[in-house]
Amino acid sequence: MIGESYALFKKDFHSELRTRYAINSLAMFIIVAISVILFSIGNETITESLTAGLFWVVIFFTAMSGLARAFVSEEERGTTLTLQLIASPTTVFSGKLIFNLILVFCMNLVIALLYSALFEKFVVQNFPLFLLTFILGNIGLAVASTIIAAIIAKAGAKGTLYPVLSFPILLPLILTSVQLTLFSFDGTSFEEAQFELAIVVGYDIIMLTASYMLFDFIWKD
């Protein structure tokens, strides 16, 4: 099953390399979003908590602009039925999840690098904590957006619906991640941050389980 999921991921990866649709649009979106924020800040110096918040705002909207493609592209090309015939729902979901995970990690890495270059308050004191938050937050973001993307694709690919459906689901993750990012700026130790870390780990596990259980119902209709 792992081999099949990997094959599915490779298919998506090659078709992405051919068109470069997601990569190009995501890169441009990141630049546009960050420049809008920089223009609106102007010469002001913003606080650390605002920087942490704005960091996750850009991550959220970038994810919303790019991750819906995973399933929508299959519906657009009319390849959904073929996939339903050749692979089990679990395999399909795993393949799409791997693709979205890699996409989320790449885009968030770019966002983090740009932030550390452009925002003077984006100074990470506790780097291991920031890295852990970053990884766990990205996993949660990828899982929740993949399952919502599957719903959206079946609902007829309504673009505006995607952030509307995703936001309430992602709200606990984003609020906690903002808090943890702020902790890493302040140099808070792991012991003090362990409750928040436990929340994010719990969120990731619960979302992953619920997504695998419910994907069958979305995929088979």
Partner: protein, 237 residues
Amino acid sequence: MIWKIFLFLLLAFVSIAGIAFPIVEKPSAWYEFPFIPGLEENAKIIFFHVPTAWLTVIAFLLSTIFSFRYLRNKNLDEDAKAHSAAQLGMVFCILATVTGAVWAKFAWGQFWSWDPRQTSIFAILLIYGALFALRSSIESEDKRATLSAVYSLIAFVTVPFFIFVMPRIMKGLHPGSADDTNAGPVIDFKMNSNMQLIFFLSLIGFTILFFWMWRVGYRSIIIKDKINKQLTSPLAG
């Protein structure tokens, strides 16, 4: 019929008693409410705010249960029940938000302050809104029922985070919050017996009203579906 009259009398009594009974320092007559420090005259809104918030949660729970049952047996009647519960939940959610905001204005000084429970009810409002947006975007009945059932189940698994986790992250103003030192649940020891009686009567009255509205709601959806099917099927007439 008889229980509808009973419900009318009950809610009429609760409304009149809740609004009109005076709050005094030392209650002596049966209709006088005690003066609770910190709540003062605002205490009366408790008879209307708590039941609406309670029914928001009940409606959400019912909607999730019937969504789950729909996914198990694919019976569209279950979907009608889930949808009707969600509709009513939205109504009660708005009422709870508005009564809560009014109360917050007089008790805490501003309409909205992102207290954990205000955040949670805002998230529930968003979930209901997203659910209706999703439903209205899908034409096919079976697909609409399946996708909205899946969405409400995914939304439901995030609820523990709002109930148990948010109070830890944010500062709370509601009684029973993590950093709340003086109050604790108001119901137990600050209300006197007649206030408690009216509070629980109000809770019971609004709950019966909810289940009645829910029954009317889902039956009308089921009947509407049936008529639609008769009109559109080629064998009709």
